[in-house]
């Protein structure tokens, strides 16, 4: 049965999803990208959009824990799935280990690419809690930063990984 999307003959789909722990239900146009849904429907403007070609990485979010380019991912496809964005990283007033490590290491300047780097780094550390510097470079090579020169970002991810493993600096 082609029932899941509700209106196989139309141009909208019904979705029930969880974004940053909150449940949402409603109708989306099939052509709405996940980035547009997050920013325009849910008001979660932390996720940025730039190249729209899956090359720059600023729109990176996690769907069921896997990193995706939300500029090239249909909002209809999050039906039944769980989405994490940069807004979901902090716990109340307490920033995530990655966020604090980025701040300590000056791993951001203008900040435009930062949500994407944070979400990609989270995806990496969830599958590999103790990555080498080379593994971090490889995993983040699809994210572009025009300010930092990348070194502080690598340092921040290494530091956050250590902290999350319980061998951290503070």
């Amino acid at each position: 049965m082609s029932s899941a999307t509700g209106s196989a003959a139309g141009s909208t789909s019904e979705i029930a999803t969880t974004v940053n722990g909150a449940a949402y239900r409603g109708s989306v146009a099939n052509r709405t990208t996940l980035a547009a849904y997050l920013r325009d429907e849910l008001g979660l403007k932390g996720t940025k959009v730039s190249c729209e070609l899956q090359v720059c990485g600023v729109c990176s979010v996690l769907v069921d824990g896997r990193p995706v380019s939300s500029c090239t991912y249909l909002a209809a496809d999050i039906d039944g799935r769980t989405v994490e964005t940069v807004e979901g990283l902090a716990t109340g007033e307490r920033m995530h280990e990655l966020q604090r490590a980025f701040v300590r290491n000056f791993a951001l300047q203008c900040g435009f690419c930062t949500p994407g780097f944070l979400m990609m780094s989270k995806a990496l550390l969830e599958r590999n809690p103790d990555p080498t510097e080379d593994e971090i470079r490889e995993y983040l090579d699809g994210n572009i930063c025009r300010c930092t020169g990348y070194q502080p970002i690598i340092a921040a991810v290494l530091e956050a990984a250590a902290e999350l493993r319980g061998v951290g600096v503070d």
């Binding site: 082609s2 990176s60 249909l74």
Partner: protein, 264 residues
């Protein structure tokens, strides 16, 4: 902005086959299709989502072949224990396709069906003597890679056919794959493998419209200069035709040198 389209989510392959036609197309990772739609290059009236059909993501091994469901993502292929055990060269290549997001969204079947010439998999799977299984309500067809990929962005898949799986004959050849890649797609990629029958095979991809296959009884039979003379690259943002010819020779020699030393 994407154009309007219908979206269906069939539960099984048979249902997919009943829906496919010239205007209603298979949709998996979207890493190629959605980009082409955004640019207005493809304007299907409907997409048939394959992502929720478990049978299309299965990876299995028989005595004679490793079979990879067309809907398996690059990341799923790279991390699967059967692939790691029997086709380590495929693991290495899949770990370096696109970027981490493309690998978690994009599928092996989508990569093959789009037939973008700058594809690592087109070259590697040709080196592996892989076959593809196409299915429609009219029946099944099994094609060799060279029969399937007819030209740039052009395969033999009919509009009502679905690419179901890719089969790699066992034992899977061993060897090396090297590529030059400075943008998001390779400029040249070369596979050099020794087949189960002991033949040496080199496949040059990305720099050509379709992969170029050269074979010999020993590595000394692989004539890098002869291969360079056969490729006809086009000048583009990744380099001039002359430059691409030069690096083709360099990467053929590198791949052969690695394969000669017995790398994965």
């Amino acid at each position: 902005m994407l154009p309007e389209f219908t979206l269906s989510r069939p539960a099984d392959i048979d249902e997919v086959l009943r829906e496919l036609n010239a205007d209603v197309v298979p949709y998996a990772g979207g890493t190629e299709l959605l980009l082409a739609m955004k640019m207005g290059l493809l304007v299907p009236s409907g997409l048939v989502d394959l992502k929720r059909i478990p049978a299309l993501r299965e990876i299995s091994a028989s005595e004679s072949a490793i079979v990879i469901g067309a809907g398996a993502t690059h990341d799923e292929v790279a991390r699967h224990e059967l692939i790691q055990a029997h086709a380590p060269l495929l693991v290495q290549v899949e770990q370096n396709v696109g970027n981490a997001r493309v690998r978690s969204q994009g599928t092996i079947g989508g990569n093959l069906c789009f037939a973008e010439p700058r594809s690592d998999l087109l070259a590697l799977l040709a080196a592996f003597d892989a076959t593809v299984l196409l299915r429609s309500v009219r029946g099944d067809r099994t094609l060799a890679m060279a029969e399937f990929v007819l030209g740039p962005y052009w395969t033999d898949r009919a509009e009502d056919e679905l690419l179901v799986s890719v089969a790699i004959p066992r034992p899977c050849p061993t060897g090396a794959y090297v590529k030059l890649q400075v943008t998001e797609r390779p400029t040249v990629g070369v596979a050099a493998v020794r087949t189960a029958a002991g033949r040496c095979r080199v496949v040059v991809g990305s720099v050509t419209e379709v992969p170029l296959v050269v074979a010999g009884a020993s590595w000394d039979d692989i004539d890098a200069d002869g291969i360079v003379a056969q490729v006809e690259p086009v000048s583009d943002i990744a380099g001039s035709a002359e430059y691409k010819k030069h690096i083709t020779g360099v990467y053929v020699r590198r791949a052969v040198a690695l394969a000669r030393d017995g790398a994965v």
